[in-house]
Point group: C2
DNA sequence: ACTTGCAGTGCAACTAGTTGCATAGCTAGG
DNA sequence: CCTAGCTATGCAACTAGTTGCACTGCAAGT
């Protein structure tokens, strides 16, 4: 289970509220681990119970009070141990792959259309990552420590998106009924 | 939820027992959707309740009796509808990415070592897929129908593995403490 | 004036998936 | 002879994650 540990990494970088964490899981780290805010709050409560994190109540004016969580020594220990613990390669899960595989049992043209849609989404994501990289890591060769590690994960996102886009292009080319002369009005 | 639909695709291709399905989910389709046998049996029971599949009890000698499931007309309808229903891009989840991101809070050299291990696993998988492709799909240009779709999913696996391996190489190069002269005895 | 959206936390009920166990007979290897 | 592994199905108890709802109060747009 990596959500707990993803949260520990986030908190080790910077103390945050559940709200902030939930938003961050929609963004940077979220490329490799998502969580809804409900899930985040639930897990934070458990982690506090474990003594991995501690909360500070912060009163605010004009907006709701908040609880800022920080990682404890125990949490740091757990994180280091988890990082050291070898893990198995996890299986990729893809609805779209299942649909492609089953295209003959539905409408292959519609599947091609959906693949096209996904291709566009992933192309946007790729652009977003590349823009991020240019802006935040203009000189990768000079990176060290946790900035280097952040960059590496971003690179992973880039690699993955590229792989998917290449694949989608292959699928579209194979599934798309070539526009025939009759398609012209 | 794609497990049900992945099972429908499998059964549409060929009637099978829960046991066979579970094994198949360790293999071909399993590259994009895994399930333990317990999960498969549970879902099969629900699907039979829905009328999507029907079971035939087959007595055997020397080995346990089995229940062969086949897809029903209702199941085919559901499958076609699901394939037509657009879905959102699902988030990739990767423990390893979280570990890389948090490498500074553990032992970066150990993380590099783990990435190396995963690289080896994925390289093996890639070889396995490529061998499969050569053996089962020697002439991709001639493929049509569900053989084509099977091939496309295999191509997806290949693309994905390649993307990961590239990324792992980048990570290893960046994290690995270069062997210094002192490392020589 | 009214709606939308943001900041902020959380509960309740659900679905999906995992882990551990049980059972039973056959086959193959040490 | 004994152990390990395959075929075959399934229950029980658990953990993880999703969906829907609730509450407050401010700011900004229509």
């Amino acid at each position: 289970m990596a959500l707990e540990h993803a949260i520990l990494v986030s908190l080790a970088e910077r103390a945050s509220t559940g709200y902030d964490l939930a938003r961050r899981f929609d963004k940077s780290i979220g490329r490799f681990w998502t969580a809804t805010h409900q899930q985040v709050y639930k897990v934070l409560a458990r982690m506090e119970g474990n003594g991995w994190i501690s909360a500070t109540h912060v009163a605010q004016e004009g907006r709701p009070d908040k609880k800022v969580y920080d990682i404890t020594a125990l949490g740091r220990g757990e994180l280091a141990q988890w990082i050291a613990r070898p893990a198995e390669a996890e299986a990729a899960r893809s609805d779209l792959a299942v649909k492609i595989r089953g295209a003959s049992f539905g409408d292959p043209a519609a599947v091609a259309e959906e693949v096209r849609r996904h291709r566009a989404t992933h192309a946007d994501r790729l652009d977003f990552y590349l823009a991020n990289e240019k802006r935040e890591f203009p000189d990768p060769a000079a990176l060290t420590g946790h900035r280097l590690h952040q960059w590496l994960v971003l690179r992973g996102g880039i690699s993955l998106e590229r792989g998917m886009i290449d694949w989608f292009d292959e699928v579209i080319a194979a599934l798309a009924p070539r526009p025939t002369p009759e398609d012209r009005p």
